[in-house]
């Protein structure tokens, strides 16, 4: 369970938040040492690693020299050559 300290506890200042075993945490709440924040809380929110998006990589495709000779006629790229 997640608790916030109301009084100093084990050298930790009031206001600090932590995760405790439920039995012990309940006793701390009863004793007025801490207040309950979340009864079923187990794992704290951890800093997330920043995701870096990969830039698009363009891979040059080799083409025959004849392509550049007839560059204006781009339709030829997709059409099979007529023999």
């Amino acid at each position: 369970m997640k608790l916030r300290l109301l009084k100093e506890w084990n050298g930790k200042a009031p206001g600090k938040v932590g995760v405790f075993l439920s039995e012990y945490g309940e006793q701390m709440v009863k004793d007025g040492i801490a207040e309950l924040l979340d009864e079923s809380f187990v794992v704290e929110q951890m800093p997330q690693k920043q995701e870096v998006e990969q830039d698009t990589v363009y891979i040059p495709v080799p083409v025959p020299m004849s392509y550049f000779n007839e560059e204006a006629d781009e339709e030829k790229i997709n059409k099979p050559k007529n023999k």
Binding site: M1, L3, L5, W9, N10, K12, G15, K16, V17, G18, V19, F20, L21, S22, E23, Y24, G25, V42, V43, E44, M46, P47, K49
Partner: protein, 142 residues
């Protein structure tokens, strides 16, 4: 109510006494039994190794993100483990989901190593290892 099915590892935590070891990303408990060889000239095993159980032992380890004294957490952190390692204090550790009906592994353990890692543009993290002294007791959380 006990957790049904396979337990999500995120929920299994190491607690020092009743305080969670903070910012943990993984926890491991290892229990092993050393074997003692009992092969003698009188054995009927035809030269094959024969063993019986010897000493039982246990280790714990955890990996966690590092936070210094400025952290606003009451959890058990690197600084606390550092003090324990220097002093050699035996800690009461529980490994559990803290869910009613689930197992609680309780043991006394001494922190034997701390590795602090700080990579450029990475989270500072550490790993801690513990040697169990005495028995590991398995109970069910009431």
């Amino acid at each position: 109510m006990a957790t049904t099915g396979i337990i999500n590892g995120t929920l299994m935590r190491l607690y020092k006494d009743s305080t969670a070891i903070g910012y943990a990303t993984s926890c491991q408990m290892n229990i092993s039994a050393a074997m003692r060889e009992i092969l003698t000239k009188d054995s009927a095993a035809g030269g094959w190794r024969e063993v019986k159980k010897g000493q039982l032992s246990g280790t714990l380890s955890t990996e966690a993100l590092y936070a210094g004294p400025g952290d606003s957490s009451t959890n058990y952190l690197f600084d606390d483990l550092f003090t324990d390692l220097i002093s050699g204090t035996a800690l009461t550790i529980k490994f559990t989901t803290d869910v009613q009906g689930d197992n609680v592994f309780t043991m006394s353990a001494i922190c034997t190593s701390l590795d602090l890692n700080a990579g450029v543009e990475e989270n500072t993290s550490y790993s801690a290892s513990f040697e169990v002294t005495g028995a590991i007791v398995k109970t069910v959380k009431a």
